[in-house]
Each structure stands twice: as C-alpha cells, then as structure tokens.
Symmetry: C2
Subunit: 227 residues, 2 copies
C-alpha cells in the first residue's frame, strides 16, 4: 500500500541544511501494523508527515495505493489526505474554537456526513475514549491527555484506510493509554493499516514489525516481539 | 517551603463546575524531590500551576517560603514566579519567534543578566541537553523532544529554588530522557526543591516520595522506592 523509494527530506535553516530523512526505502503492506522508533530528532515525525501527505519529500518517490503521490498538486494531495488518511499529531493540532465534540465532527463535515449522524458518531467516539463529560470543553479547557484522546477520536472517526499516530500515548497514564491501544488494535484487526511512532517499547511490541530511525535513515528493522 | 491547606480549584464550563482540585493538604520541604502521578484529568497540571503561581486556587491557602501567596496581587505574583520558580510546561510554551538559544536566554533577560554572560550560559545549557546544532532553530523547526529539552534548559537556567516539571520526558527516547533526569538529579542534590508530574513509574522512582492524585484529591502518598 505504501512504497517509499529513495525518500529524502532536507530542511534549510539559514545556510545550514538539515537532512531529516536520508534515502528511506520501505514497503508497508495493507493491513500491516508498523511501529517507528528512534532517538529524539531522528526523523520520525518527518517520515510520518511525508507518508501522511502533509509534507513533500525533497527527493525520491512515494507511491500510495498504487498512485505516485509526489506528482499530485496541492488540492489533489488534500483530497487524498482527507479521504484516506487519519492522523494523530505529536501535539494534537485541535481547533481552538471548537469543542471536543466539534473537533471530532470535523472530518465528517468535510466528508458531507449529515448533521444528525455526525452528532451520534462523534458522541460514540468521545465515549469510547472516556470523555463524555468533556465533550463541550474547548481544547484549552482539557488536560494534556484529554486533548490527546480527542485527537485520537478525530483521527479514527472516518475509519480511514491508513492511520498515522505520532506518540499517541505520550500524555496518557497506563489505563487510558491501554484503552487507546486496544482501540487501535481493534481497528488494525479490521484491516486498517497502522503506523505508530513511539518511544515506548510496550507500545511498539504490539506492532507486527518495528523500524528504527537514526539520523534520518532506517537503521534497523525487527519483528514486533523482539523489542 | 510549600504549604498547601484546603486548596481547591474549580473551573466553570457553561453551567457545569469542574472540580479539578479538592481539599489538597500537603507540605513539601526545601530540597525534597516529589513526584506527582495519577490518571489523565486527575488535576496534576492544575496542582502544578497553583504551586507555580500561574493560577490562583478557588479556596484554601498556599504558603511559599513562609509567605502567603494567595494574598499577593498579580505583579507581586509575577515577581515570585520569575525569580524563584522554574517551570517546564506539559506543552513547553516556547516563544515562536525566538530561537532555541533566545528562548533559553529569556529568564536571564528578565533578571537583567548582561548580554555576554547570557550568551555563554545559554550556550552551555543548550549543550547540556545535546542541542548545540539546533541553537539557531525556531521552535517550529525543532522536533517534539528537542522543544522539550529547550524548555528544560530554559526552566533551569536561573538555578531557581523550586523547579516544577510537567511530564519532562514525555516526548523523549530513553537516552535523552535519562540525560534530562540526571540533570534534574544533580540540581536536586544541590538543594533544588523539585516537583515532577509524570506517568512513567521509572521517572517517579527517582523521587523521595510520590503523591497520587485521583479526581482532584491526593488519594495516596508513597515513598519513592515503592512504585
Ligand atoms: N481551563 C479549564 N476549564 C475547564 N476545565 C479544565 C480546564 N483545565 C483543565 N480542566 C479540567 O480539569 C481536570 C484536570 O485537568 P489537569 O490538566 O490538571 O489534568 P492532568 O492530571 O494534568 O491530566 P493529564 O495527565 O491528561 O495531563 C481535567 O478533567 C480537565 O478537563
Ligand atoms: N521545519 C524544520 N526546519 C528545520 N529543521 C527541522 C524542521 N522540523 C524538524 N527539523 C529537524 O529535523 C530533525 C527531525 O525532526 P523530527 O521532528 O522528524 O524528529 P523526531 O524523530 O520526530 O523527534 P522527537 O522524537 O523529538 O519527536 C530534527 O533534528 C529537527 O531539528
Ligand atoms: Mg516527533
Ligand atoms: Mg497534565
């Protein structure tokens, strides 16, 4: 489903190039559950942003579902992103002026889902992450872990074919973290392709396999039960 | 050094009160290293904000270094905060238009430290968290864990008497996380009073003792080696 060949991403800071991704070759099949680990600054979020069509590689080719993504213009890229990919960002990116429930409804608004159905589905998703009593809160009226759970509910509400999660349990205690991971496992069992960036070996162990990034390169690949 | 008596903090969301802290009584002695754990939404960040003079309790009294803090007006509170307390926020709050080095310099600017000394001390602090090559980057040009480390360097640059850290290693791999924790241990050994909110038992174990919050109350207190 995902085919990366020679992917590079270089940032420019003043006159200094920052080589965030270097020659990344990888194939991820439909329905796979892959974890991405590596030191802080090794390129994990950058890799996820490229795969999630939020960022274009500086070089190399990215084929998603058989289609060469690098060749798409911005509006086509936006379509792919909205319809096929769910994203849990490292720092959530909730809309400040929308409540938790309205944030979860947002992808459905874009997809033209009727209002009554949106309300029901958002309420169910919010309950699934244990936040019924916080549905009306704005993001700044939520704790860190509550915002993270809202981001998870929003990313999964359209049952996307591909879900990218950047440190989805980083702000969660073990109980709410496990609830989120079980939710992800269930989606994965139902055919979702799942990529999870994590620093937590317990989270990585649930994957079929793990990619280790070091200085922008894939340094190592292991099976899930070997971490 | 810190004396909390009957501390309550209630938020109002529409017509719903949210009791984030309920009757918190606690004493923290100078030089103690205390960890704060508890489920997502249990009031940990709220407690830290009250102790850090960023938020006022709805009820109860807070005595810091012998002085009743609740009676201070905003400008006096700001003075206390700037001169005596270092804070690592759950989501960092770096100034977007300032580079990593400039963010670290900021407390020294407020304290009137001369420019040359500021530059030297900021460079040393940035090197101590392994970010020499990222000193000129803006926050949006940094990875999540890099921003977290800049926040740590900024919070400790004035060697405050009290340091409050809200999930200081949540975005860090074990290597950079351990580097940060060793830095905190060293400050603690030198007399710093240290409060750390964490979901990670390994981080909590380094404390002298641990407070467990549940629904805004201190539900349990244990010694550091018992978690
Ligand atoms: N500004 C606010 N207005 C209303 N409710 C709030 C506000 N800030 C926090 N809350 C609520 O108060 C409760 C405690 O929040 P707090 O941020 O202290 O939790 P926490 O223990 O730090 O959680 P986490 O582990 O998820 O970071 C949460 O249930 C949250 O929804
Ligand atoms: N917009 C940008 N401009 C310049 N450099 C950047 C930019 N974004 C990220 N970087 C740099 O690229 C490198 C990779 O960043 P990335 O966010 O992918 O790391 P990461 O593996 O997610 O780290 P963490 O575990 O800390 O979240 C980092 O060293 C970072 O400083
Ligand atoms: Mg990252
Ligand atoms: Mg918090």
């Amino acid at each position: 489903m995902i085919h990366l060949a020679g992917i590079c991403r270089t940032y420019q800071v003043g006159d200094q190039p920052v080589r965030a991704l270097v020659d990344v070759d990888e194939e991820i099949r439909e329905g796979e559950h892959v974890a991405i680990m590596g030191p802080s600054g090794s390129g994990k979020s950058t890799l996820l942003n490229v795969i999630g069509c939020l960022d274009r590689p500086t070089a190399g080719s990215y084929t998603l579902g058989g289609r060469e993504v690098g060749g798409l213009d911005d509006s086509a890229l936006t379509q792919v992103r909205r319809h096929e990919i769910g994203f849990v960002f490292q720092f959530f990116h909730l809309i400040p002026r929308l409540s938790a429930a309205e944030n979860v409804e947002l992808p459905m608004v874009f997809a033209g889902v009727p209002r009554r159905e949106r309300r029901q589905r958002a309420a169910a998703a919010i309950a699934a992450v244990g936040l019924e009593e916080r549905a009306a809160h704005l993001p700044e009226q939520l704790s860190g872990g509550e915002r993270q759970r809202v981001a998870m509910a929003r990313a999964t509400i359209m049952r996307p074919a591909l879900l990218l999660a950047d440190e989805p349990t980083g702000n969660l205690d073990s109980k709410s973290g496990n609830a989120v991971l079980e939710m992800l496992d269930e989606l994965s069992d139902n055919g979702l392709t799942l990529l999870v960036v994590t620093h937590n070996p317990k989270v990585a162990q649930r994957a079929d396999r793990i990619l280790f990034l070091v200085d922008g390169r894939i340094a190592k690949r292991v099976a899930g039960d070997q971490v």
